[in-house]
Symmetry: C3
Subunit: 103 residues, 3 copies
């Protein structure tokens, strides 16, 4: 099965809605990390220009990437700069450690 690695940097308040969406899409796993960063339109002269965001990482089969991407857009979208980014990266192979089997 061909797998992709989806990375999304989102605002923290978008997480609960994303989790609900992922449950409905039967996405079988997600990793969340607290990160700091800056994006477009950053005021580097501001003392706290590094804002808090969440980094969400999901390994997902290729056939589900578009549905997942749209789900993330739906919950994380905002007209304010700082809504974040979403990237899709190639994966050679993904294993489940419990079964030592490829997903």
């Amino acid at each position: 099965m061909n797998v992709k690695y989806v990375i999304a940097i989102i605002r923290p308040d978008a997480l609960p809605a994303l989790e609900t969406k992922l449950g409905k899409l039967h996405v079988q796993g997600m990793t969340v990390t607290k990160v700091k960063g800056f994006g477009e339109y950053t005021d580097f002269y501001s003392k706290n220009h590094l804002t808090e965001h969440l980094k969400v990482e999901i390994f997902v089969e290729e056939s589900k990437v578009e549905v997942l991407t749209n789900a993330i857009f739906d919950v994380a979208h905002s007209d304010i700069p700082g809504a974040g980014i979403l990237a899709v990266l190639p994966v050679d192979v993904l294993f489940h450690i419990r079964t030592r089997s490829e997903s």
Copy 2:
């Protein structure tokens, strides 16, 4: 030298054994991040369905990927869901910042 990027999401208690293994395999670096997440068989109705795991990242030469993968399986394996996942991703190039040289 062709390099791969290995990402493993493991239970925190598997870290000490993994470090010992990596030392024996002469793996020359590892990055550890505290993450939260969910995996298979998650009960989304549970209040604390996001469990604590560690994300381990290792850049390793391609010839060592299989040995490293098996080492991670050995130390992180468990019959309980939540043992985690392991992914291998392609890398264009890896540099050591100290020497500015490719690894």
Copy 3:
């Protein structure tokens, strides 16, 4: 536009200079995570062999990778082991969530 994913593991004290550099290079975003890890020449017998580093992640157009890489070398370089690593990974696609558009 072809995008690359740059991961750098650097010493925490190199961050302010890196931010200044990125602003000058018009790099439009950066994510920073506190990580622990070990690199070359680690003394595994030391109690605190896992040192604190920062993981910096930047999605950047391919044409800027070399300039960015050299900027990171300039600010994070050190003759002491522990200066860190820098990797460039392929990306299938990068979206801005605000506009749902590819970068």
